[in-house]
């Protein structure tokens, strides 16, 4: 492409079309631009347009297109062609800085981004003049230009804040410091002077303060990796000026906006960060300045208002104080009682107040409110910062701080008592204060785990929390109700049990509150109380203690799901699940109504599943209903099937992907509960479960495998007789699974069930193929996981069909195959098998090979007999070999059995661990001893001689131990 007017014109037209709302016009234009972007001069045409086009939209559009072009193409990737020709690269680098600086702000930002992308690749080696070019502009006196330079520098240097130290990085930083630090410092001083000469010129001040913010950010980046010599030498200049900027105020810079932080706030906030950086990393050098900053920041806090726009500043400032007050050598700065009192009074208490914005969130955005308040996503809030400061101060001054706050709490409670309707916020603050003062350590699972002993939590609970919850109206002062419920929740381990029991009916009552936050908290609190541990690993609160409340609890929980805004409230659903699990058989009388409500809910949400947690707990609750009821009354199984199958069919037919894995799990649970032969309703579904489309979705695989296993356990004979034509399909699923490194273990689960349960004759014609398939995988792409499963399978096969059958099938595939598998796979790898049942299967299987396989005694396989025995003893006695070849690390992390990304396992649909060996062998060591004994009786003298020739001494010692324990001797 030439740099011609005609091309400029064409480009202009296409750029214009890319802005068209109609995709039929926009898309082809975008395509066209992409197709020509490899041409020489294309970027230069864009630069020309963004500079010279008559239309502003085209200028902006060209600048955005240019930046994206740079982003996609500038980096030279090894082994890939260079996508921008060298002359264009040189021309871009030569022109972009002046162009950026002379452009209006909107375009300047795009070009500045482009420069930093280029800089990331080319700076400093391939762009040596960039820095000088930028620094020279500092002299220009034009702050529009200067800010452009500063912004570009910021985007170039900000990576110093997160990259690891390296020679390359530090060489670059050193270069930057040499060229940039002094001019930046001079600019800083000059800008501050200009601020005082222009103190009355609002528009000038705005520009100057933007510069100061950028300068302060650059300071942070340049000082991040280590304290540069230059900045150490010039600390006085920087810190003195930072300090005075912190204390500066100018009416002209105050904004009316309540939400958006203004320039002054942003600058001070950055200065707090800079001071915090120095305090943390360069304490030794910064020590002389630190006390001044503490005072300034504290004064700043005292004088800053409650508006949202100050939030970041305030929380940064408080966090600075919190981090300093914990350091032993700054303890003295806070020690004085007056200082402490005034920090508590003027910094902490005001920032704990419930603000208008909080109130709004409480009412209109309760989900967000709950997330912040309950789940701790409050890191940047003022309340949280204040809370951290309390905890920081308590490290050295727990007594005095508790004392000061007790006074506050009392006076706030008195205020509240005088006129609750007007002063309820005082009580909210009091509760928050007590909470933050008392809590020293906290977890989601247990609430507060370490409390301040100076605070009497129970007394406060009885005198100030319970009365609120006992009041006649559940809807009065909802914020205080929520506070009270939260108090129970987090101090549940500190408040004595009898008080918790008193609270339970109150909590159940508050499930009816209209406020979403209040009834959600009530549900959550109940759920938490029900998970508390008592003595002997039982629940703290027992089903018996709950007996009087069962009906009202269940009623209110399900009613709460009908309250506006809570139809898919996960906290309520989780509380339902937990209540079922706690109450057990006492829920049985209510099951008919419960299951109706649950299936209706299921039907409703399956139209558009949107709350994964809610859905999960709902299915858990369904599983619990089934287990609890059928345990007491097995005949109820049919009525559950009747109630659920209709909805399940609909879910399967409509292919509700989110729910299908759950449906399979519930069906597995139901089927496993059948004592007799598989019902025909299940058999009708069997062919559909083998449909490939189901197996294409990874999330379906584990629950489907489990379901098929249930089919095999309950209906192997039915399948063999009535659905024999489906056996190839079933094995096809196995083949599909075994082909994947991620799912092969699932394939083995299925295969193991097939071998264990299917009548042998039904498999005769497939047997050889199964093994061939496995050997192919073993040969072409074996992994540790595959070998582990393979070993378990062949030993299971050996147990089921006998060692001789195993040897025969191997050798029928290829002569001497059996010996090769023994030598190359079983003996060297058996140590890798993990899991108790798996190890037991292998032990029993190998024992059979050793003692019930004649070819092991009188063919060339005999030489493998002792090594195999030694490997078996190793399996018994040595720790598991969990080494994994390096190249397999990736697979192992992604595909370890039991770790599924797309599959949500239901805990209450849990499958019992299955031991196919079972009671047949209790102690595999003794079993080995007995089997060897039997073998030695059959061929006297052989066994001892094989042992003495090649079994190593230690293994022999172990073996003698087994023989002794089994009270047998070898002949």
């Amino acid at each position: 492409m030439e740099l011609s007017d005609a091309n400029l014109q064409t480009l202009t037209e296409y750029l214009k079309k890319t802005l068209d709302p109609d995709p039929a016009i926009r898309r082809p234009a975008e395509k066209f631009l992409e197709s020509v972007e490899g041409s020489q001069n294309y970027p230069l045409l864009l630069l020309t347009l963004l500079e010279k086009s008559q239309e502003n939209v085209i200028k902006v559009c060209a600048s955005v297109t240019f930046k994206n072009y740079i982003k996609r193409n500038w980096r030279i990737v090894e082994d890939e062609p260079n996508k921008i020709c060298e002359s264009d690269r040189i021309a871009i680098k030569a022109n972009i800085v002046p162009l950026m600086l002379s452009s209006p702000e909107q375009i300047q930002k795009q070009l500045s981004d482009a420069i930093s992308i280029i800089g990331r690749e080319d700076f400093p080696q391939k762009w040596p003049d960039l820095l000088t070019e930028m620094v020279n502009r500092f002299q220009s006196g034009d702050f529009h230009v200067i800010n452009g330079v500063l912004r570009t520098a910021h985007s170039l240097f900000k990576r110093y804040r997160h990259e690891f130290k390296s020679n390359e990085l530090w060489t670059e930083i050193k270069l930057v410091l040499d060229a940039f630090a002094l001019p930046l410092t001079n600019l800083f001083k000059a800008t501050i002077e200009l601020c005082s000469t222009h103190a009355n010129d609002a528009s000038a001040l705005k520009v100057l303060f933007s510069s100061l913010i950028l300068i302060a950010k650059l300071f942070y980046s340049l000082n991040f990796q280590d304290l540069p010599e230059f900045f150490e030498d010039n600390m006085e200049t920087w810190m003195t000026n930072f300090h005075s900027l912190l204390t500066l105020d100018n009416k002209l810079l105050q904004t009316d906006d309540e939400e958006e932080a203004g320039l002054l706030e942003l600058l001070k906030s950055q200065i707090c960060d800079n001071a915090a950086l120095y305090a943390q990393k360069y304490d030794e050098e910064f020590q002389p300045y630190l006390p001044r900053f503490v005072t300034a920041i504290w004064n700043l806090l005292v004088t800053t208002g409650q508006e949202v726009k100050y939030d970041l500043l305030v929380s940064n400032a408080i966090q600075f104080l919190a981090s300093v007050c914990e350091r032993p050598h700054y303890k003295h700065l806070f020690e004085d009682q007056n200082t402490l009192t005034s920090i508590c009074e003027k910094v902490i208490v005001p920032n704990m107040e419930f603000r208008a914005a909080d109130e709004e969130a409480f009412e209109d955005n309760s989900e967000e409110y709950i997330r912040r308040d309950l789940e701790g996503s409050d890191i940047d809030t003022r309340r949280r910062a204040a809370c951290d400061l309390v905890r920081g101060l308590c490290k050295f001054f727990e007594g005095p701080v508790t004392g000061i706050f007790s006074g506050y709490v009392n006076s706030m409670l008195q205020e509240y008592a005088k006129n609750p309707t007007v002063n309820w916020k005082h009580k909210d603050a009091a509760i928050y204060l007590v909470t933050s003062l008392a809590s020293k350590a906290q977890t989601q699972k247990h609430g507060i785990t370490q409390a301040n002993e100076l605070v009497n939590l129970t007394e406060f609970f009885v005198n100030h929390i319970q009365p609120d919850l006992k009041s006649a109206s559940v809807n009065e002062f909802p914020v205080l109700k929520a506070d009270g419920i939260k108090y129970i929740m987090i101090f549940r381990n500190q408040v004595p049990k009898e008080q918790l029991l008193v609270s339970i009916p109150l909590l159940i009552n508050h499930l009816q509150a209209e406020s979403i936050v209040v009834h959600t908290y009530a549900a959550h609190a109940l759920e938490r109380l029900f998970t508390m541990r008592g003595a002997n690993n039982t629940t703290l609160i027992t089903a018996a203690e709950m007996a009087p409340f069962v009906e009202v609890l269940l009623t209110n929980l399900f009613k709460a799901l009908t309250l506006p805004g809570s139809s898919e409230n996960e906290y309520i659903m989780k509380a339902i699940m937990r209540s079922f699990s706690l109450l057990q058989e006492s829920i049985i009388p209510y099951i008919p109504s419960v299951i109706t409500q649950l299936t209706q809910k299921l039907l409703a949400v399956s139209k558009n599943p949107s709350k994964p947690h809610f859905n999960h707990y709902m299915f858990e609750s369904i599983c619990l209903s089934i287990r609890i009821t059928c345990k007491a009354n097995p005949d109820a199984l049919g009525s559950f099937e009747e109630a659920l199958f209709m909805v399940f069919t609909e879910i399967l037919q409509n292919d509700v992907q989110e729910f299908i894995p759950y449906v399979f799990q519930v069906m597995s649970l139901l089927l496993e509960m059948h004592k007799n032969e598989i019902p025909s309703s299940y058999m009708a579904l069997f062919p559909h479960l083998l449909q490939p489309v189901l197996w294409e979705r990874t999330g379906n695989i584990p629950p489907l495998v489990r379901l098929l296993q249930a089919y095999l356990e309950r209906g192997a004979n039915t399948i063999a007789s009535a659905a024999a034509d489906k056996i190839p399909g079933l094995l096809g699923v196995f083949q599909k699974l075994i082909a994947s490194k991620a799912n092969d273990h699932q394939g083995f689960y299925l295969l193991n069930s097939i071998i264990e349960h299917m009548p042998p004759e039904s498999l005769d014609q497939y047997r050889k193929q199964i093994f061939i398939l496995l050997f192919q995988r073993l040969q072409n792409s074996k992994t540790t996981k595959f070998i582990k499963s393979f070993l378990v399978f062949i030993n299971l096969y050996c147990i089921k069909y006998g060692a001789l059958a195993l040897q025969e099938v191997f050798d029928s595939i290829q002569p001497k195959m059996f010996g090769m598998v023994l030598e190359k796979i079983i003996i060297p790898e058996i140590q890798k098998v993990s899991g108790q049942v798996e190890k037991k299967i292998c032990a029993v299987g190998i024992t059979k090979i050793l003692t019930e396989c004649p070819p092991m005694m009188d063919t060339e396989y005999t030489k493998l007999w002792t090594p195999l025995l030694q490997a078996l003893i190793g399996l018994f006695e040595l720790p598991e070999d969990d080494t994994i070849p390096d190249e397999e690390h990736f697979i192992d992390i992604e595909d370890t059995p039991g770790y599924q990304t797309a599959f949500s396992q239901l805990a209450f649909a849990g499958k019992k661990e299955h031991d196919p060996v079972g009671q047949m062998v209790n102690n595999p060591r003794i079993h080995l001893a007995q089997s060897l004994h039997k073998l030695s009786t059959a061929c006297p003298g052989r066994v001892p001689s094989m042992l003495s020739t090649s079994l190593n001494a230690e293994a022999l010692q172990y073996l003698q131990g087994y023989l002794q324990a089994a009270s047998v001797t070898l002949l």
């Binding site: 804040r161 060489t171 360069y282 304490d283 890191i379 350590a441 699972k445 699990s581 057990q584 849990g910």
Partner: protein
């Protein structure tokens, strides 16, 4: 017994899974570029004589008359030096020396530009004019004390052989001045250091060391010798090192703290290198003395002694064991608590390298009570020291046995470690995250994963790790994500399953589930 060997072999492989012991030990210099000011506690490379020393007044009676010396202009100096009047030569040389000795901004460049250096070097050879030799030596010493270019000007004028022959001057003050000048030249860098060594500077220098050498002189000799050991890329030749070492071994026993200090510095340079260089020092048997000196109340002695021992433990397990046997673990606790941050840092660095050793050395570290001061340092130390302490903990958790790791956790390491996740240093954060993973691996072996999860959450670690999932550094964010996914992503296990195991029906607790929506 093969079974046992196989087993221990496997254990060994397991312990260091993916890490190799050498990588755990960290040599002093990871980065050659420094952003910081040259460290104040380093030994000085070059020194200028700025005022009249006592010795000078005693030995140079002319000086006593002081003000009699007339101030000369540079022009006059040039003329006089190049002239043939011996009296004027001396006056001019003395004037030169004086202006080079003034406290502030000595005009070294101007003197070099005058072009009189070759002439001054020539004066060094005027054995018949000791005062002139002395003044010239002094002036050249001060020129050589400047930048590399300044030193270069002196060397290129042929000063090295001239100064070396002055080492056998019958006048002790000339001899001493030459030692000083040679020290400045050696301190310039490996190039001139080796040039000096190749000109055989060492034997005459060592010959000057004797029981009757005056203290001040001996200090100068020690300092110059130490500069001959200094600098890397390349290291000083091994033969040279071997000839000097026995002398340092003796000097370390001297009573003068400056002599001890410079000898320690020399040893610290010699140990700052590959393991075979460390071995040469270990073989002299001076480790016990160095450890003793680490406990010295004198900062100038303690600093280089600590540095030297710190270097030794970057070596092999056996070399580290030699330092342990010399008692380093008994001294370290005090140094970890030292008031000076740089000492804390060096001590923690030393400890981190001992913690990188096999578990028997880790056990010694526990037995000697190093854990409490380590935890204390991690909690309250200066940031530089905290960073090293983090490495110590990381190495400990990589190489320690499960029991040792449990002991570490019981010493309260977790809280300060987790607090440091707020550190403004990506590498430190990454090392902490790796350490946390190590702790979890140990917990898994003990079936205590759940408890560790709770502990981490209680100590506000969880929210810090969660926050790191948005860190700008890719490796940091991935490490955080891995920990969250692996240990914290599940809902808590429904640990209250009804009637667990009673009739088998509810026995479904074995499988651990991961909820991932």
């Amino acid at each position: 017994m093969p079974v046992v060997t196989e087993h221990s072999e496997r254990m060994r492989k397991f312990k260091n899974k993916g890490k190799d012991a050498a990588a755990l030990r960290r040599q002093r210099v990871e980065v050659n570029i420094e952003l910081r000011k040259a460290k104040k506690d380093e030994q000085i490379l070059k020194r200028r004589s700025i005022s009249f020393s006592l010795m000078d007044e005693n030995l140079s009676p002319r000086e006593a008359k002081g003000n009699e010396i007339i101030q000369l202009s540079l022009e006059e100096i040039l003329q006089a030096v190049n002239g043939s009047n011996r009296e004027l030569q001396l006056q001019a040389t003395q004037a030169t020396r004086r202006i080079l000795s003034r406290q502030k901004d000595p005009p070294i460049n101007q003197i070099i530009e005058l072009g009189i250096i070759p002439r001054l070097v020539e004066f060094l050879t005027h054995a018949d004019n000791a005062p002139l030799q002395f003044e010239a030596a002094w002036a050249l010493t001060n020129i050589a004390s400047g930048t590399s270019d300044h030193t270069k000007a002196v060397v290129e004028a042929g000063a090295i052989p001239a100064f070396i022959s002055l080492l056998s001057s019958p006048h002790m003050h000339i001899c001493e001045q030459s030692v000083w000048a040679l020290g400045n030249i050696a301190g310039d860098g490996p190039l001139y250091r080796d040039a000096l060594i190749n000109c055989n500077v060492i034997p005459p220098l060592l010959a000057l060391v004797s029981p009757v050498t005056p203290i001040g002189f001996l200090r100068n000799i020690t300092w110059t010798l130490s500069n001959l050991c200094r600098n890397k890329n390349p290291y000083p030749p091994l033969d040279a090192v071997k000839t000097m070492l026995p002398v340092f071994t003796c000097l370390l026993e001297h009573e003068d703290k400056d002599i001890i200090s410079d000898s320690c510095w020399a040893v610290s340079y010699l140990t700052d290198g590959s393991n075979d260089r460390i071995q040469i020092v270990v073989d002299t048997g001076i480790l016990p003395r160095l450890v003793e000196l680490m406990a010295s109340p004198e900062l100038i002695v303690m600093t280089p002694a600590l540095r030297a021992i710190g270097n030794v433990v970057t070596g092999t397990d056996e070399q580290t064991q030699a330092a342990i046997d010399a008692g380093v673990l008994a001294v370290l606790p005090h140094l970890l608590q030292h008031a000076k941050p740089t000492i804390q840092k060096e001590a923690a660095w030393t400890l981190s390298n001992i913690a990188a050793g096999p578990c028997r050395q880790i056990q010694q570290l526990i037995t000697c009570g190093l854990l409490p001061p380590l935890v204390e340092l991690l909690d309250k130390g200066d940031f530089k020291a905290q960073k090293e302490a983090v490495w110590a903990v990381a190495n400990f958790t990589t190489g320690g046995t499960v029991e040792q790791v449990v002991e570490l956790v019981q010493s309260g390491v977790l809280k300060p470690l987790l607090n440091l996740l707020l550190a403004k240093d990506s590498k430190t954060i990454l090392v902490i995250l790796d350490t946390i993973s190590n702790l979890f691996m140990a917990a898994e072996k003990l079936g205590e994963t759940e408890r560790l999860c709770l502990l981490v959450e209680e100590l506000d670690g969880l929210e810090k790790i969660e926050a790191l999932q948005t860190h700008d550094n890719n490796m940091v964010y991935r490490a955080a994500l891995t920990i969250i996914e692996k240990y914290f992503s599940g809902e808590e296990n429904p640990d209250l399953q009804p009637g667990t195991g009673q009739d088998g029906l509810y026995d479904f607790s074995v499988e651990k589930q991961d909820f991932n929506f």
